[in-house]
Symmetry: C7
């Protein structure tokens, strides 16, 4: 912002130059130390990471640590040069103003990157889900394959890999924490005998429970869920181990239909007669 | 921004250095005190929290308090070093400008984190819902499992766990505060006797009320809700204990159908003849 | 930003220290006064609030006033300490820059909080709706239970409580200000006699008006609203007291159907013959 | 930012204190004047407003003018105190930085308020709509009841009052500026005689025009709008006075149907034979 | 930021006061000139505008020019007063900081206003559409009635006026630039003779082209657009003058149906036999 | 920020005024040069542009170059005046603060303009599409008519012109780069002979390929795409020249239907018998 | 911000001018060096890029490197000129303030550009997808043709090229990483023998697996997926090589239908008898 005042006598100039030199050396030394310390920290983090559940492989670790090293080294050197120029008395205002505008644009552009990293950290820290869990984020459902620094990868059961930036993860639904419920709505003809149907349903679900591994409790027959104009629906629910509701539902569908057919309960809607 | 003026005599330099030394010591001492006070405060908060309804377990408390301790210690030390460098006369403008741009990007990226924490605080402070309540946030409905600092966990009745950042909670619907209403729309054939049907409905709902635990008042038969081209609907409502409307609705469905059948009121739409 | 110039003679140093001491005392005294005044203001506001329509209960008032007291005391003391340090000659730039970045993040995160409070104030000040009114905000309709500083609570007729932050209230529909209109569209068979139907409708609605409490004017038969391919619709509207359109509609549905049946106007669509 | 240099002789200190005193008095006087002028301006505005089309009632005017008076008085006094403290030589940087962060948060939160007021001003200034006009904003249609500083109130024909913040008004549709068009699509059986139907339609609409008040021109028969698989539609349009298209449409529906029936044009779709 | 140094001798004070007086006069004179020049510019712009295609009427011009004059006069005087106070040596930092926060809130609130004006300028400059053109913006279609500084008014053919802020105009569709295409999809029974139908269609469209004013080229029979399960569609297109596709389509509908009927091509879907 | 120190002797005042005069002249000269250079650059750019693929016509070039000239001249002169005032010693802080707030509002409002220009530049630079290509942006599909600095104009095949600001172009689909694929799904009755149908389809598409210009390869019969409850679909695809898939599809529709009819493969769904 | 103090003796002026000259030369030299170093770096990057998987062709590389060279040269020269002017003592505040507002607008407008580049870098670095992969972004599915600095080009199988800015890529679904699953839901008539159908399905899928190249495992018959009112569905899944699920599904469709037909399992829904 200003420079050496000119109303100085000669010995003062010498003293002044001496002071400046000392400060430049100080800046240089501090810059060296900062880079060294940063390198050490990176090494520690890389080693810690290799043991962490994030499972980043060796080769990628190296790439990242070199990248970060370079980034820090360039930044520190740049700042050191600017500090030294500042000591020599250059007015760096314009340079800084330019850098500020550029930095602002980059800062705006990079904010979603920062958000990705912060959210990713909290997903792991809060243990929202782990590798192997079945989760759903928006319309993307599947098994978690990797929780990365910036993105999460989910493999759907049909083989697609969904890659979602962590900052875009708003609501997570985790299917692997608790037992799930299979819901079967049994259609009956409008004039079917409801009470008898419920008795038969209770019989068949108890029988299915005996034979089926993934059902954890005797399924419940809840009652008449809906009375439509030509049929009615009775709801049956079965608690089963996580993510087995599809399989259990298919078994219940088949067994209930066969059992009701055997016992003469009309399920089919017959049109036109 | 500037440094020791050079037009100073020798004793003045000594005085100047003395002043600077005092200030550096002062900075150091204050930094120490700030860290100590912060540590004490964290300890207090951790103890207070362990008794609080937030129910954070011991192990996680420790993790968080160590994390916060480190964060504060690093920050205070960094600031102290910069203050001391400032006293020695280094122009720290460029350093600060760089940190500002970085800080801006982080600030932008972290704003949703801050919003999560603020909203989380108000959810608890305003007692919007508690652990165990049945609530709905957007399309996610279930029982509240945990109200955390940053996220709320809801367990749906089919076993999924929905994890929602607090800052994303815009509208909450709480189903556990008041009695709920079960709504049953009874379809009648177009040429059915409306008045007789209403009398019969009043009889059956009174009877159901006697026998059913979760209905809190005799259900009401409201009247002809809709006149369609081939059928009409009569609405029946029943006030029941919170979250029991599904169960009560199923009972009413079954009993009303059986009662009307018995008394010969036509409900079924017969097509084609 | 700078400190006492060193080219000063001894008495000047004494004078300088004296000046600084005076300023520090001044800062301390002002800080005390600000805290006292703030406490008084809080007390006044709490008392005023207890009489206000906001109906905040005693216990919560206390919690809030202690909270605000602490907040102000900490802030004022912090500022006072910084002002004093500034007098002693410490360069507080770095500290402030750091606080600025943190403050920015908090400011961004807190902006929706500020918006909630401002909007809440205007809802009350402009008398948009009051406790007990039936209103609709987005898809949430119900009776207003509480208009709070930050959120509004609406109880739907089926018993759910919707909690909506005030800043999210964009469009409000108030159903309790004026009389409402019940709309009944009467279906007629395609070959029905329109003119006779209108005469009969006028008779029946006049009769219903006599017997029904919540209709405020004789309902109007507007005319042929729609000519479809197999039926046509005649619209009847009835002005009724606020929020009674459902009840009035049900009565009109039943009475019109019975009256037209009695007088042999074909309403039913007969398919296939 | 700094204070009186200490290398001053005694008379200079006296002069300095004299100067400071003068400036403090100057600040005080200006603060008084600003408040007085503001009060006068408020009074003028209140009087002007009471005559303006905004129709704000007396009582509310008073509330607002007291509110604004207090706001200005507090602000001016606060600024004056800070200016005086600045003269005494206190470093107010930290105070201002804190106020800045708070102000930023409030500024962000208040921006929608400012937007409401600006848009409201332009709605009135550009005469987009007036009290009594029938308008539609998004899905809310009704008669304008009040155009306020911050919100617009619209009363729908079924009695609801929609309250919309001015800043949320993006597209306005005004139905009260021009004559409106009633559109009637007449269905004909697929094998009907198109040319004869058009002749008959022309006869009936001319007749209706004679008898009906709100139609401003003889309605036009536009032609075959659509050829479907089992019927075809002929479009008839009628220019009528603003917001009367519903009423005119109902009259045309009834008269056209009766006329075509009389003249044996098949409109009805006969299924199954 | 600072004031007159006190270590000054008497003649210097006189010189200092003299300098300040000169600067104050200079500020006053410049302020006068700026206001005068601004007034002249406004006058020029008003005159230029009255001749421009924006068609702003005289009365509104006056209102606006007085408004702008006042705005500029107040602003310039305010700035001049602040500059003069700055010369006298008052620390205006706090005042400016307060104004800055207020200005920020207004700036944020006013940004959509600025965007409206900028976009409006470009709509005119780029000649996107003119008064009288038929355009569509989002779901609003109609004839452009006025392109204003802030809003565009569109009159739909049914008489509504849509008022859209220019900044909300994202995509414009202009229907008045080129000839439009009328599309007629002719349904044929599944077992109709396709080749003969195409020959007949070519005959009828050539005949219609001869008789109809708004068709600019002989319409084309494109071929079998779709093969459904029970019918197939042949597409016919006709280039016609802008915005006449509705009228031309109605004529083609009627003529094609009559021609195919005459020549025994089955169009009607016959159900059930 | 400050002005000439008063503790100056007379010859120093003279020197000071001399320095200031020199600087004012320097500012004036630099301002002149900047304007001249800018004018030259504009001329060069206009000439370069007239040869560029942007095809801006002569008249518009002139308008724009005059506009830019004026803009630069006013800006440079304004800055020069402010620099000169700054040299004379006026405190321009308040002026700049005011301009900053105004500039901020304009900056925010103008950001979409800047984004339009940047995106427009990249569309041309990356050769995303050219004039004459058939592209789709959101729901707007048509032939590119003009790629402008701020907007892109697309003419749909029915004659509308869609005008889209470049900054709103998120995803572009270009139909003119590669050959397109015509897809024909042939419905067969449920009991049709699949293998024979596929043989016949292979025969007919080979025959069509011989006769049709725009098909580039023998079309492929892919197989049974879907088995519904009453019919099944066989998919046929044909690679054709860009944007000819509609035409080719119509030919395939007609020929396949006629060929299958001739060879007695049932396509028609027969209801009810 | 200020200039040479006037209370200087002659030799001091000389010294001052000497200092300034040295600094100007220093600025000039550093500017030269920065440009040279930047050029070298660009050359290195261009060479590195030509070997990289980004596959940017030679001609475009040259265009870009010249562009970047010019950009850097202009920027560095501009900054150097401003630094030199700053040394001569010009108050550049106003200039910088103006540039700041302009820069802010550009910064806002350019932020999506920055975001594109950052996201593009991470897509390549994280190996989300490569050229030749089949991916889906929003509704755009196809083969990746080019991953550019700013946009990604995807070619759909029907020949369209979708061009998507990298910053708009939120969720990527990669279809080329794992085997995919073909899903076939076989409809059976309601009274079909489920157990026998499952046995037959197991036979046919095993047979198809033998004959078909792209199926990697014997397909699984999962069970009764759904029981509808008139039919039921049995689900069969087949793991196949990536992106072959369409082809495999078509083969399974045809073979299953033929096999069930042969063995007399009713699949067809027969209406009305």
């Amino acid at each position: 912002m200003h420079w050496i005042r000119e109303h100085v006598s000669k010995p003062e100039i010498v003293a002044s130059i001496f002071w400046i030199a000392i400060k430049i050396i100080l800046i240089y030394v501090i810059a060296r130390i900062v880079i060294k310390v940063a390198d050490k920290t990176i090494d520690h983090m890389v080693i810690a990471r290799e043991k962490s559940p994030l499972k980043i492989d060796r080769r990628r670790s190296n790439t990242i640590s070199i990248l970060i090293h370079n980034l820090i080294a360039y930044t520190v050197n740049l700042v050191a040069i600017m500090l030294i120029l500042g000591q020599v008395g250059l007015n760096l205002g314009p340079l800084l103003a330019g850098a500020g505008v550029l930095g602002l644009a980059i800062g705006f552009g990079a904010q979603s990157l920062v958000k990705d990293v912060i959210t990713g950290f909290f997903i792991i820290f809060e243990d929202q889900f782990g590798v192997g869990d079945v989760i759903q984020i928006d319309q993307f459902k599947g098994t978690v394959e990797e929780i990365g620094i910036r993105v999460t990868r989910i493999k759907s059961w049909t083989g697609e890999v969904h890659i979602i930036p962590n900052g875009n993860i708003k609501q997570v639904t985790n299917f692997s924490t608790y037992n799930s419920i299979a819901i079967v709505d049994v259609s009956l003809a409008y004039d079917a005998d409801i009470d008898r149907a419920i008795v038969l349903l209770n019989e068949v679900v108890a029988e299915v429970y005996e034979r089926t591994e993934n059902i954890v409790k005797v399924p419940q027959v809840l009652g008449v869920q809906m009375v439509g104009t030509t049929d009615l629906k009775i709801r049956v629910i079965a608690e089963c181990t996580p993510n087995k509701q599809g399989e259990v539902g298919r078994i219940l569908n088949a067994e209930i239909k066969k059992y009701l057919d055997t016992h003469g309960i009309k399920q089919e809607k017959v049109e036109g007669n």
